[in-house]
Amino acid sequence: MQWLGLWHYWAVIILMMIGLYIVIARDNLVKKVMGLSIFQVSVIMFYVSTGKVEGGTAPIIPEGGHDLVYSNPLPHVLMLTAIVVGISTTALALALIVRIQEAYGTVEDDELNAIDGAAL
């Protein structure tokens, strides 16, 4: 069974789909942001799992450590950047939600649609 080595990816994809479900099925905007952060963590985990090398250690060179196998450091670097960008977008989304609450008095998507429909 060569597919057995892929179960990490599958677990991450299931996680990703739970995040996507929260984003598209839930009406509360804060809940959508939570779903988005679950989705983001899953994508990061997917990238990091492609960098794992069997029998490898974290890519930090010990004093006098010869002939060690290191996991791939490149996905780690890219995902460090992704985490920081992710928290920036989350902060901006939450600030927008606060503004929507101020302007409309609700953060439920269907109620916002109803208010906008009534205004037109």
Binding site: W3, I14, R26, M34, V48, L78, I83, L94, Q101
Partner: protein
């Protein structure tokens, strides 16, 4: 061969995500997102990404949870009960199936011969390893070796790549944080001014809506 702790952490992660999706109490869901980030940090450590793990623990479990809790204190504490709709399940199922079909061509988890481990990554590790280990022996010698490639010479390869080889990437990241900060400040400052200047105006808005 998967470690038992990996399976346990994945089961915890999936359970936490499902509970977040089902909970209507948003405060509890916000705390669970913190737990979710902490569990994923544990998994990152097992996948040898220690730098990603502690960034995720600090940013995901710490800062993001605080942000969400602050937002909840200004908005609703609970979300409304809503009927389960079937269409999102179908969309999510099809997307997930397509993604899983896409992984079938991928190299197995931990495969040392996988494509991402060759080329640039292998070169980074080789250069830095040589530079750091030779630095140990002759401390005075500059961190330079054989083929004329300059190395950073730090023990942590992730730091070397982040700060030097992919320095422009990190610079771009800083620009994103700057932009987001300005956006948040502009959004929240308008709110305060409106409140201070004309409170009756806001009451009017609420009654009309």
């Amino acid at each position: 061969m998967p470690l038992p702790i990996e399976i346990v952490l994945f089961i915890f992660l999936l359970t936490t995500a499902v509970v977040i999706a089902r909970l209507e109490d948003l405060f509890a869901a916000a705390m669970l997102t913190g737990i979710f980030s902490l569990l994923s940090a544990g998994l990152f450590t097992i996948m040898d990404a220690v730098d990603v793990a502690f960034t995720e623990a600090a940013v995901g479990a710490g800062v993001a949870t605080v942000f969400i809790l602050c937002t909840l204190s200004l908005t609703a504490k609970r979300e409304y009960q809503q009927p389960t709709r079937i269409l999102p399940f179908i969309v999510v199922g099809i997307t997930g199936a397509a993604l899983i079909y896409g992984t079938l061509d991928m190299p197995a988890y931990g495969d040392p011969d996988a494509v991402p481990h060759g080329h640039l990554s292998a070169k980074f590790i080789e250069i830095e390893e040589k530079a750091f280990l030779s630095q140990d022996k002759h401390a005075a010698e500059p961190a330079q070796h054989g083929s004329g490639e300059k190395a950073v010479g730090l023990p942590n390869i992730v730091t070397s790549i982040l700060a030097s080889y992919r320095g422009y990437d990190t610079f771009g990241e800083t620009a994103v944080i700057f932009t987001a900060t300005i956006g948040v400040m502009l959004l929240l400052r308008t709110r305060r001014r409106e409140k201070k200047v004309s409170p009756p105006n806001r009451d009017q808005m609420e009654t009309t809506s």
